[in-house]
Every structure is written in structure tokens, then in C-alpha cells.
Amino acid sequence: MSEGIWNRMQRIDRRVLYWILFVGLMIPFIRPIGLPIAIKSSTRDLYEELRQVEEGEVAVLSISSGVSAWAECLPSMVACMKVLVQQNAKIIGWTTFIDGPLTWDKIVSLVPGLEEYTYGEDYVWFGYFAGAETGVAQLASDIRSVFTADYYGTPIDELQIMKDVNDVHDIKLVLSSDTGDACDYYIRQWHTPYGTPVAEVGIAMQGSAYMPHYRAGILFGMSVGVRGGAEMEKLINEPGNATVSMDAINISHIMLVIVVVLSNVGYIMTRGKR
């Protein structure tokens, strides 16, 4: 009898697990939890460095994450943009993803301060460039050799913001939002040879991948996943989507730990009998 229970604990049908998770994720919709969020040093460093950007300095937002990563990356990107706008920084955006323009449009729509910014003078969007790391290396060397016009076809020399911006030396810092290894491109091609400060705004998985770089001082800050977004929202005192999503993170993570513990209890109890 008891052996049956232990065995069943190890063999819960995956459809049952899906339903358990689905129902669990509904709980915050009915009754929000809203647990306090502690701020990690990596996110605080990101925020503090952005606050050091002075008026007129140029920051690059490199988007290498698709729309599928909006839940994880977008809140933090929006928060970072809000800080840059507060600092009256000039912002240049480009992407290595084909759906990067969608993400850029979304960010622009979610940052109210950009309304007071003038396109072409205070911020500009260049859109997609091919070549991945080679493209990033060439941007460091000569932006005009990669982009001759912005996303909307305005020649680069007619853009006021680009008047004194030619290469990596004219950029204050880079925010790389990615779901893969695009941040490595900036580390290798911008930070290592030229010392440009680089920060990562990535999905949760990248927390461990980029932690060595952050700990070594190569990245000045990191915002990792939804949690990073929620921390950034807390730092700018504007709770948003990431803060709301933290309830789902709480539920899903604790449920995952519970089912893993259950399966292991069943496994340990039946191990001697196999």
C-alpha cells in the first residue's frame, strides 16, 4: 500500500502537473500576494551607474532579444530607459534581432518621458544590422560604415544626435538586452579593447552565465529576468509589469520545489526495494 503511494509520487502524469501549475498561476490573479522584493547588488549597480550618466552623454541600447522575451527583459529595459531619460542622456538604439523594431516601439510607448525628447536630436533608432559580432566590432570602429541612415531612412549625417558620434569613443555605456550571447560581443569588442562600460539586461538563465563577468567588474551591472525587472521598477519607484509578475514567479518556483521534493521522497522511499 505504502509502496504504491511512493511509486505514485514519482509517476504523476505530466498533464496533471500542467494543470497544477496552471491553476497555481491563477492564484495571483484572484488574490495578489505582493511579497517585498529585496534588491540584488547587480541590479543596484546597474541603476547607480545609469544615474551617473550626465546630460548629453550617449548611451546605446542594443536589443538582441525577441518579443518572446518581453516578459523577462522588457520591464527592465523600460526602467533603464526611464532612468536615462531622467538623466537627459542621449539614446541610440539598434538590434541584432529581426523583431527588434517591435521591442523598440514597445519601449518608446512605455517611456512617457520620451514624449519630451526630440527624435533625431535626443534619441535615434537604427534598426537591424547583420553580421552579429563582426557587426558589433565594426560599430565600435565606425558606426557610419554599418548604418548610413536610421530605421526610417533619414541619412545619418542629418541626425543631430549623430553629429559628434562616430565610434565607440563617443559612447558612454552600452545596455545589452539579450537572450543569447550578444552581451559577449560587447564585452569582447567594446569593453576589452576600449573599456566601454557594458551592462546586461537578460533572461533569468543568463544570471549564472554572466555572473563571472559581473563579479570580475567586466559588466557594471546586470538585470536578470523578471526579478531584475521588478528590482529596477522598485529602484525607480514605479511598480509595473515585472512587479506584478513576481507573484507568478513565487507560485511557480515554490510549486516546482514542492513537486521535486515529492518525487525525491518517493524515490528515496522505494530505492531500497528496487
Partner: protein, 197 residues
Amino acid sequence: MIVEFFFDIPALASTADMLRTWVIIISTMALALGAVNIMRVHWKYIKRREPGHWTYSICLITVFAVLTILGLINLKNPMVNPVYKWMFENVYTSLGQTLYAITGFYIFSAAYRAFRARNSDAAILLIAGCLVLLTNAPIGEVIWGQIPVIGTWVLEIGETPAMRTFLMTAAFGLLAYGFRTLIGKERGFYGEVAGGE
């Protein structure tokens, strides 16, 4: 380009600039080539009525054609075209986010099946994984105030040296692979067995 990375020689820098620009141009052309290849492959599926493929191929070619035509109408900024914008915002974005969200369910099920303390190594991995998971969620701190402390330690002190070792090893491996490729010893990318003649 390797030499240009280490030495500030203007002549080398301009040559490297030119080479990088070539790569960008070739990469851009490769996108067009990729698009043509996708059409070719899926057209074949439709012609052969390939079981399990051809209906999806029709969908792919139709959507590809519609988006290409709409994109070409407003070449400078396709997003001003309401149909193009609608398709991206209500089809592509929704599908992309749904697919990504579904992986959460798969991971939930996969973790349940795979995370077993079959030996001491697996047990350590399991405990560390659970601690890092609970560190990422504020509920971990509610359960026990020391969970974030231990989880952060695991992530920053425990994991970092291992990840650094992995990164350094991979970098040296890549250097060796690149060098072997340059001297013609590595031909795996030609489809040959590595080291084969």
C-alpha cells in the same frame, strides 16, 4: 584582424575595417539567400505532398508572401502599414510569447522527472538548484531568511569559479580550433570527419 586587436597600426585597422564591412554585407546577402532557400525547401514539400509537412509549408509560404508584399508597400517603415502592424502585434508577438511561456510547463514537468537524488553529486546539484530557485523568488526569504544568503553564495561564490573555468576552457578550445582551421587541419565544417583527409 587578430594582429589589429593587439597592435595600433593604422594600415591594419583600415584593412580590418574593410574586412568587417565585407562580413556585414555578406551576412545581409545571406539573409536573402536563406529566405530563397526556405521557399525552395517548402515549395518542394508542397509539390511532393510531403506527409506532415506540406500543409504547414503552405501556411509558411502564404504568410511569407503576405508579409513581404506588405513590407514592400511601405519599404521605409513597414510598421506604418496597419495590416503589417496588426499581424506582427497580434499574431507574431502573441505566438512568440505563448511558445516561450509554454516552456515553463515543460520545465516544470521535466524537473519533476529529472531532478532525482540518484547519487551524492545529483543530490548536491538538486539542493543547490532548489536554493537558487528560491533565492530568485521572494517567497524563499519568507520561508527562511537564510535562503537568499545561501542561494546568493551558491550563485556568486560556488558557481562563478566553475563558470569561469568553463569559459576559459571553451575560449582556449576555440583558439585551438581556429588555429587548426587556419592551417588546414580542421575540415569538419566541410562535412568531413574532423582531422580526416
